[in-house]
Subunit: 242 residues, 2 copies
DNA sequence: CGACCCCTTGACATGCATCAAAGGGAGTGG
DNA sequence: CCACTCCCTTTGATGCATGTCAAGGGGTCG
């Protein structure tokens, strides 16, 4: 009934830390709208933090007094329900920020999908910056607006699309965000279960949808964590969303 | 496959304008977080606009240069897809605002569910106010943050809950928003199709879920547009969400 | 080499979508 | 004032997409 049920992953930090070279040094490639001047100004106040795969960065309900920038790795933003359900509202890639919105208490958890390096800043520094610099204000609002837009996109996907369409949309969005245009090879840092919990499906359905797209030569799947988007036209046709 | 498909409603404005007295004069009851000082300062610049039931207020893709406050009536915020699908990301009630986020072009459409009265302001006035008043800045950010939170809630609902659970969550949320606590009688301004497109279900499934809850004496349904929440405990138990 | 974890595929079950039709309230015209 | 029509809601019958259960495969780590 409720997808993903209680088969969540193993304990944080316990799992093998696969190395994803391809994830390491990409900084601010797609960061045009994701940090820019804002974070440059914060840089002096930042401290580095490291988390291993599946480790929790912060949990739902904690105080929200820090802002994070992902330097390397991938983070998932998720909500856990009492009966074991989980929903991943977004993945966060290098160059992007976490915790900008005006929460006093975290409305969701953040967990490392693979080993992650973060820059972390006290929110007070952001507040000070916001007060003193009008450009930062504008940027802050447009970053929060962007995540609102992303949220509405996912709502549409969850409300209106079939499994195949969801997977197609997901792959396209991932391509947009991780390598803005260089070739059709895509690296999936997250596992099938993460994808399933993000798309509101089960892991089996995600597998089947991927296999189906593969059989139709719309994508190629050299390994569980690599996808090649062979037929972008067909993918876009599936992801008819707005 | 895709819910709601192409059975959207009739032409804007053509439908009968049912009167919903109960919706008229409720102003700023739940507005604690929804307008407050911000709009009071904007008041002098506002003009009144009226829309009849099912009329379009603005469409997706239009320029986004105005901010609206709902004075009376109910507005739905929705996205239409090319193949006739529709998703309603939110309903907007009296006292609440539309268009605060930093969009340059509308990412969604706004339509009157029932006859609506709006106060409308040029965004430039808001910008000016934001520059001059730090309190307004804080409030603006927390309003946008609030809608981000709402969006994540709906994502969870769409990703993890069954039809019954969705309807239960919806009714509870509606109760929260429309009458903060006075009795368990609930007025549904929107029709079943609107509810379906909001919850990612079909109209028939919504009907059946409501009937089921009625048969179990969890709610009572005096008419299609009135619901009495008889067993709040059971409803909360269904809406296990976070 | 063995254990574990994740991915994949198959067989089956079911919740919800789809198709179809009847009931009820509101506005309209006779 | 009544009959008609339209639209929305409700309920029933059926089918399908996806969830559930189960088992095997392949990589990685110890």
């Amino acid at each position: 009934m409720s997808p993903s049920a209680a088969r969540a992953q193993a304990e944080p930090g316990r799992r093998a830390e696969r190395k994803f070279e391809f994830m390491e040094p990409i900084e601010d490639v797609h960061g045009a709208a994701s940090s820019g001047a804002l974070l440059r100004s914060l840089q002096p106040f930042g401290t580095r933090e490291h988390f291993s795969g599946n480790e929790t960065i912060f949990s739902e309900g904690e105080d929200s007094d820090r802002v994070f920038k992902v330097i390397a790795g991938v983070v998932r933003i998720c909500k856990h329900s009492l009966n074991g359900g989980r929903h991943i509202s977004d993945f966060v890639f290098p160059g992007e920020l976490i915790g900008l919105a005006a929460y006093t208490t975290q409305p969701f958890a953040a967990e490392a999908v693979i080993p992650v390096t973060l820059a972390s800043f006290g929110k007070c520094h952001l507040d000070r910056l916001v007060e003193s610099d009008a450009r930062v204000r504008t940027q802050l609002l447009s970053l929060v607006t962007a995540s609102l837009l992303t949220a509405h996109r996912l709502q549409f996907l969850l409300g209106c699309q079939s499994a195949r369409e969801r997977v197609a949309s997901f792959l396209l969005r991932l391509a947009e965000r991780t390598h803005a245009g260089r070739g059709a090879r895509l690296d999936l840092a997250m596992g099938r279960l993460d994808i399933a919990d993000h798309l509101g499906l089960t892991i089996e359905t995600v597998c089947r949808a991927i296999s189906a797209l593969k059989d139709e030569h719309i994508i190629a799947v050299p390994g569980p964590h690599q996808v090649i988007l062979s037929d972008l036209g067909a993918l876009h046709a599936l992801a008819i969303a707005a």
